[in-house]
């Protein structure tokens, strides 16, 4: 795989002005090249992704599918074929359902607020600020924070015994919360962690899209007497539709694969248990634990495939919903 560019006709660059008169006869080869260009160059442009995916993505995918049909230990000389047995046991596995519920709960607690706050934050960043770069970089900083530092800071915040949050709760006369032991409280704490890490990222995505909205549209709406809120709802939001679809689909996928935050949150360092009774173990943590701790690679692969299907389904539903919700301003230009 090399650069895709040379296949397009180089020679035409200098003679661009001739294109205005279609009636004028041109040399046939150039004509043909032009048609080839239109018809085939799109494939060249999307090719790099598929080539790379073919090299590094397809094999892992097929491998995982294949392994999921076996009773396959992580290190296994003689894996035995068991057909769909892994999938059958998965359906009956209560721990799998627990982790699925945990995942959905953390996902709902994090994604919704995150997207709303991100859009509002983007609107703030889209005003004319002094030192705009500094503000943009500022809100993106959480994503760069070292996981070591994050682990300690959130442990200091949500520690059941010595944590700052419980200290404050006690100070104002409320009960302490066992952020580790209580299932819902642990989901809230993890969702806060997720939102803290990802809101700024989503805000910058939305900001980039807001920057593409032509100002004339706002001016036109203003002439029609629309106030700032009205303009935001009826001009800005509809034009953000593709971007919002992107944000919703990617945070659905990311949210259902949530892994780092619950792992960091566990008091037991490096543990994949997701708490003493798996109260905040997510599906990906469970899948990871099955593969690398229990070393049951076949079963872990089955989890991976089932999760893949679930994600596709949920993402599809969210995609449709988002399209419906943001359809109000269909007439683009």
């Amino acid at each position: 795989m090399t650069r895709t560019v040379p296949t397009t006709p180089r020679g035409r660059a200098g003679e661009a002005s001739t294109g205005g008169e279609p009636a004028r006869p041109r040399p046939a080869w150039r004509d043909r090249l032009g048609r080839w260009d239109v018809r085939y160059s799109p494939y060249l442009y999307v090719a790099p992704f598929f080539v790379i995916f073919g090299i590094v993505g397809v094999f892992p995918l097929l491998y995982t599918a294949y392994v999921s049909l076996f009773d396959w230990e992580l290190i296994d000389d003689n894996p035995s074929f068991i057909g769909l047995d892994n999938y059958v046991s998965l359906v009956a596995d209560t721990q799998f359902w627990t982790t699925l519920v945990n995942t959905l709960s953390i996902f709902v607690l994090s994604s919704g607020p995150q997207i709303v706050i991100a859009v509002l934050l983007a609107a703030l960043l889209n005003t004319r600020l002094r030192g705009p770069t500094a503000w943009r970089v500022g809100v993106l900083m959480p994503y760069v924070a070292s996981l070591v530092a994050l682990g300690i800071i959130f442990a200091n915040l949500f520690g059941p015994n010595y944590g700052l949050v419980n200290g404050i709760l006690e100070f104002v006369g409320l009960d302490r919360i066992d952020w580790q032991a209580d299932r819902f409280a642990s989901h809230v704490a993890i969702a806060i962690m997720v939102n803290w890490r990802w809101t700024g990222y989503n805000a910058l995505i939305v900001l980039a899209a807001m920057q593409a909205i032509p100002k004339e549209l706002h001016e036109a709406a203003m002439v029609d007497g629309a106030g700032p809120v009205r303009r935001f709802v009826s001009v800005t939001l509809p034009l953000l539709r593709p971007t919002l679809i992107f944000v919703v689909v990617t945070s659905t996928i990311g949210g259902l694969q949530i892994f780092t935050e619950p792992k960091l949150f566990d008091a037991m360092p490096g543990s994949n248990n997701g708490g003493s009774t798996n109260q905040f173990q997510t599906v990906t943590l469970y899948l990871y634990q099955s593969a690398f701790e229990r070393q049951d690679l076949g079963y872990a692969s089955a989890i991976a495939w089932v999760l893949f299907v679930i994600i596709i389904l949920v993402a599809l539903v969210n995609f449709v919903l988002t399209r419906r919700l943001a359809t109000t301003g269909e007439g683009r230009r």
């Binding site: 239109v38 790379i52 993505g57 770069t133 809100v139 070292s146 700024g200 995505i205 980039a208 999760l307």
Partner: protein, 288 residues
């Protein structure tokens, strides 16, 4: 032209969605940024003092004087500069390539018609949904088969272009690049690649800049795959810094001095690319 354009823009934005920021806007943003930046400041605090402040609920808020001593210990313990060089090569290559290929593919998916377009695009998104946790074993097998294990290409090639990048650039291009501009350029006799280069690329600059920031930082912070795929002679920064955590307890002032140092290059990239997220599109459009 410029004389007119400036006041025009200002008038337009003053009343539009891009009003001049008021005090409460600064207030809210300041709160956000303080919350965002706190862990960095805190890391720097620990790095400039010693680990004992970790267990205090409210740490002292003024840096101590140990930062340079701790930084020196980092340089003495790990091959920091070499790892930094590797990380720059890896993250730099991955960023340039991802931005270029994603923008190109995004352009094709958003604005060009070709057979199988929708199917291929759905395929791109579907690859996003594959859980990556298990991929590490077969990926390592593939890399070993190619003879890339322990070579930098083992961490570069898998990330040369990402599904999320293609998806993002496609979504952005749909809105940001008007068909009229493309048609105009085609009528002018531009080849596809020139349309891409001269029409599409300038219009999607904010999105490409964001993708660049995001890609650079993801690549820079990647840990487990580089740890597996590269041998310790040739580490990236994160792999090298991990060695600071040896022993039965962790010397956090040392570890966080390391992470603070490793954040500096990201900040530079952010500041350079962060400027690019601006409304530069319409100028290009008017010229067309």
């Amino acid at each position: 032209m410029t004389v007119f354009a400036l006041p025009l823009r200002r008038r337009g934005s003053a009343g539009g969605g891009l009003g001049r920021a008021r005090f409460w806007v600064y207030g809210l943003l300041t709160a956000f940024v303080l919350g965002s930046v706190f862990p960095f400041y805190w890391s720097f605090l620990v790095a400039s003092r010693d680990s004992s402040i970790l267990t205090e609920a409210v740490p002292p808020l003024v840096p101590g004087g140990n930062f340079f001593a701790n930084a020196q210990r980092v340089f003495d313990t790990v091959e920091f500069w070499r790892a930094l060089g590797n990380s720059v090569v890896v993250a730099g290559t991955v960023t340039v390539s991802t931005v270029l290929f994603s923008t190109l593919a995004g352009f094709a998916f958003a604005k060009l018609r070709f057979r199988g377009r929708n199917l291929l695009f759905v395929l791109v998104i579907a690859t996003l949904a594959v859980p990556t946790q298990l991929g590490i074993i077969p990926l390592y097998m593939a890399m070993a088969e190619f003879g890339w294990a322990n070579e930098l290409q083992a961490v570069i090639v898998p990330n040369l272009v990402t599904a999320i990048g293609v998806f993002w650039m496609r979504q952005y291009t749909v809105e940001a690049v008007p068909y009229e501009l493309i048609e105009a350029a085609r009528v002018d006799g531009c080849s596809m690649i020139r349309v891409f280069w001269h029409v599409c690329l300038p219009a999607v600059r904010p999105a490409a800049a964001f993708l660049g920031m995001f890609t650079f930082m993801t690549s820079w912070n990647d840990f487990l795959w580089p740890l597996v795929a590269l041998n310790a002679e040739n580490p990236t920064v994160q792999v090298a810094l991990e060695k600071l955590q040896s022993g039965y307890y962790v010397d956090y002032s040392l570890v966080l001095a390391g992470t603070t140092l490793a954040t500096v290059p990201i900040l530079i990239v952010f500041i350079v690319l962060g400027r690019q997220i601006v409304a530069g599109i319409m100028q290009g459009a008017v010229k067309g």
